[in-house]
């Protein structure tokens, strides 16, 4: 058993989690545990009954990936893992930090947001957008410019904090497709490969990760357009729709009865400057995009 820090929680795990810092906090008991063990179907009635995810009305969730393994996340923060014998460590952890991690966040009242998060002059800036919009690639460009990362892929936000939404530090990883790795002038090293047929690599080694929570200063919503690049401030109902689309595994939050909390959290996020950048699907312009994001982060709200 090793104790780690995840989003400020003390996590005690059987499974080695090299993406996480070792716990160096107080003597509190572990708030989350991960242990190998059986992963039976959660008790009926199920509020979600899908091919990969089952969520019970009692708040426990099972996530299964045939070639990777099964995860049972109980409402009290205990996670049981049954890995597939052929699954690699990075594959198991990639699965753990997807749906099971989202369930933990929703259960604990913090918002998992589908975004990367970079630190610009001490301020956290989240970059969201549909898969393929370039969240992680931009995070990699920002990391190479010396900006620490707070989150990649899933940005956990505590919207209940009094001074405004706080971004909690997430697992230190940076997942990129092979073409993005090569376009950044880096080498797609087989040792970084996450595995499976998908050519995805974890380039965490090129980034530094900010170790503690920071206030969220702005949210950038990336979208791809064939036309000219455009930047606009998002507001009102349109913004709320965009934010809702950015909640990671939102239906798990809904299944856990967190609709009102997610609504309240979204309103807190909507009070921040939210910018939509429509970018051209042209890799050569990613540095101009990084400049623009740096500029927007500095712009007063």
């Amino acid at each position: 058993m090793t104790d780690y820090r995840l989003c400020g929680w003390r996590l005690s795990s059987d499974l080695p989690l090299p993406e996480l810092p070792i716990w160096d906090g107080d003597q509190r008991p572990a708030q989350i545990t991960i242990a190998h063990g059986p992963t039976p179907e959660p008790p009926k009635p199920l509020v979600i009954d899908g091919p990969f995810t089952q969520l019970s009305a009692d708040g426990s969730l099972r996530f299964s990936l045939e070639t990777v393994g099964r995860f049972l996340v109980r409402g009290d923060g205990h996670i049981t893992v049954a890995p597939h014998p052929q699954a690699s460590g990075p594959q198991i952890r990639a699965a753990l930090f997807s749906t099971p991690f989202a369930a933990l966040c929703h259960q604990r009242g913090v918002l998992p947001f589908h975004a990367s998060c970079v630190v610009i002059n001490g301020r956290a800036v989240a970059i969201t957008g549909i898969s393929g919009a370039g969240k992680s690639t931009l995070a990699a460009v920002m990391a190479r410019r010396g900006h620490p990362l707070l989150a990649e892929d899933v940005c956990v936000v505590d919207c209940r904090a009094e001074g405004g939404p706080m971004v909690l530090p997430s697992p230190g990883r940076l997942k990129l497709w092979r073409d993005a790795v090569e376009a950044l002038g880096l080498t797609a090293d087989p040792a970084d490969r996450i595995g499976g047929a998908r050519e995805k690599f974890d380039l965490a080694r090129i980034a530094s990760f900010h170790p503690s929570a920071l206030p969220l200063a702005a949210i950038i919503h990336l979208s791809i357009t064939w036309g000219a690049r455009d930047t606009e401030r998002l507001r009102g109902t349109e913004l709320m729709r965009e934010l809702k689309g950015g909640i990671f595994r939102e239906r798990i939050g809904v299944g856990l009865g967190k609709v009102e909390q997610m609504f309240a959290a979204s309103l807190r996020l909507a009070a921040l400057p939210n910018w939509r950048i429509s970018r051209s699907d042209d890799f050569a312009r990613i540095h101009a995009l990084a400049d623009l994001i740096t500029e927007l982060a500095e712009r007063p709200s």
């Binding site: 507001r235 009102g236 109902t237 349109e238 913004l239 709320m240 729709r241 809702k244 939102e250 809904v254 609709v259 009102e260 609504f263 309103l267 909507a270």
Partner: protein, 92 residues
């Protein structure tokens, strides 16, 4: 739906003011709907079930507009709200 129909808000809604709009979330459908200033005013007048003709009477008075225009605009808005599951409509 016509002037004699009675309309009222459905129960499963949450709402908040944001950037001058009223943002409504239909909890069961998980969909947002936004109302501008006038839409919001109409929404506030539907706190209890109301006959559309009565609603339009007060709107025509308060906005100093003719009844036919008001009725047309109100029916269009209420039609949208019904489609989005925000109001229930009882026709006589």
């Amino acid at each position: 739906m016509d002037a004699q129909s009675v309309v009222g808000r459905v129960d499963k809604l949450i709402s908040a003011g944001l950037d001058g709009e009223l943002v409504l979330l239909n909890v069961e459908r998980g969909k947002y709907f936004g109302l501008d200033t006038i839409g919001r005013d109409i929404w506030e007048r539907l706190e209890s079930p109301t006959r559309i003709a009565d609603l339009c009477d007060t709107l025509a008075r308060d906005y100093d507009a003719d009844m036919a225009t008001i009725l047309g605009d109100v029916l269009a808005l209420l039609g949208q709200m019904e489609m989005e599951g925000l109001i229930s409509v009882q026709s006589p």
